[in-house]
Amino acid sequence: MQRVAVVGVGQTHFVSHRKDVMHSELCFEAVNSCLRDANLSIDDVNAIVFGVMDGFDGVDCLDRWCAGAAGGYGRPFMRINTAGATGLSTGIAAYHQVASGLSDVVLAVAEQRVSESLDAQSILNTAACPIYDRNIGGTAITLGSLPATRHMGLYGTTHAQRALVSVKNHRNACLNPFAHLRFEVTVEQVLQSRLIEWPLRLLECCPRSDGAVAVVLAGEHVARSLTDRPAWIHGAVSMADTFFYGDRPDVAYRDNLAVAARRLYRKVGICDPRKEIDVAELYSPFTSLEIMQTEALGFCSEGQGVRLVEEGVTWLEGDLPVNPSGGVLCTNPIGATGLVRMAEAALQVMGRAGEHQVNGVKTALCHGLGGVLQFQTLMVLGAEPR
């Protein structure tokens, strides 16, 4: 095993529709921006790990189309897919390759072009179990709405409390030049926005975004030769849970995320996550999920997630900012989204996040979520090696 650090990141500007490039060209853009950021050339890269989710792009085996654009020509290349968690699974696979010592420099690249499917829900319908679940008509929103309703029932969470999460994240996105939705909203605007799937309204749900992201990881010697301030990876955890929605013991509590978090904290030596983590980038496509994720991650006790946002703890100026980039609520290039979380966490640790930089970040947490709350992925990055 060798120590591993992120030494560069590259993101495209996330938008509804990138009409000026075809699919593979998005990858090329992100990889070039990443290599420039790390002051590396493609010849320095030993291997590529590529992530994209199925369906949205209307082309099967997108790894074929994108291998060359991701820098794979003549190099080891593999594709990762764990639904929404794909991006961070891709980052974790790259981390494992470098940590093993078999490679010194590995590129993690992920992208999605949600705009190419003129009917994204039809794609998502095909992800439900065709035998038991599909014709009941759960939507992509259902994975946020069912937990939201139960959270309201058990803990008395209100629409207005959830709306605060949207206000916070939209405000943060205005400070992030790569974010997709860059406008501020008020609690009233959230509450008056169109009802999508009760209890969730339009401004509580993520957009569909086009874009790509690349992160370059290096072993300790290379990392130190490249930069004084890499983002050291302290550890990562990933976990699969059941495919069946109804098998979850309680949809109001992200029990599988809590298990993954405990494993990760033990691995990286975190005893009090609320105190020891300085910033978190979570896969929260709905207001409800951010609230429940902060509970499962141990930032507060069960049912108390709304208090973190009400008391300002998770705001940019708070003790433990959550989604300072604006998060998934403002930008969701689905298969790339998890790797955007890792890129943003790395930027925070390197002190290069720009206007949404959190002061004095020593330890950052990032998270990916895939399927109907099925795949959970987590990683901790730090300013000092561990």
Binding site: T12, H13, R18, K19, D20, V21, E25, E29, S33, G58, D119, Q121, S122, N125, P130, I131, Y132, D133, N135, I136, G137, G138, T139, I141, T142, S145, L146, P147, A148, T149, R150, G153, L154, R194, L195, I196, E197, W198, P199, L200, T242, F244, Y245, G246, D247, V251, A252
Partner: protein
């Protein structure tokens, strides 16, 4: 921002394609037995795991938590309670006409919930409808008259 992004006003040619591919999914022995019981007997079955003792609904041939086969069939429902619900207000291709209530229903005797619809509910005011079905509300399966061996053989769950 790259030069290429700035030139987005140039004409970009659009190539239209379509996926329209038929599939036939074989449900297998276990799910077929589950569906036949619904279709022929209007009964809902689960399976009890010999190790963790959970009754899993819909029926399946293995417990993924214990990683053992399961074959102890037990009848569950047809009554149960709402674990959570949502009211979809958007029309999507291939999905039911909105608004409709989708719910996790924990059938009596089961340890897992079934994803299904709550019907017979006035949805003209969604907020009001939601307040009528708090978590724990008791419901009962309403069977379709003509059943063909699918989850939709239960037309919906009605409030008790």
């Amino acid at each position: 921002m790259s030069k290429m992004e700035q030139s987005s006003e140039e004409e970009s040619i659009v190539i239209e394609t379509r996926w329209n591919i038929p599939f036939a999914h074989h449900a297998g022995r276990t799910a077929s037995r589950f569906f036949r019981a619904m279709r022929d007997e209007q009964k809902i079955y689960g399976v009890r795991c010999g190790q963790c003792q959970r009754v899993l609904v819909p029926a399946r041939s293995f417990c993924e938590q214990c990683f053992v086969p399961v074959q102890d069939w037990v009848e569950v429902g047809p009554q149960g309670s709402i674990e959570s619900f949502a009211i979809n207000c958007m029309q999507y291709e291939g999905l039911p006409t909105p608004p409709y209530v989708i719910a996790l229903v924990k059938l009596d005797g089961a340890d897992t919930s079934l994803l299904h619809w709550i019907g017979d509910l006035d949805l003209s005011n969604v907020e009001m409808a939601a307040s009528r079905i708090p978590i724990g509300t008791r419901v009962e399966a309403v069977w379709k008259a003509k059943r063909d061996g699918a989850m939709t053989d239960i037309a919906y769950f009605r409030l008790l």
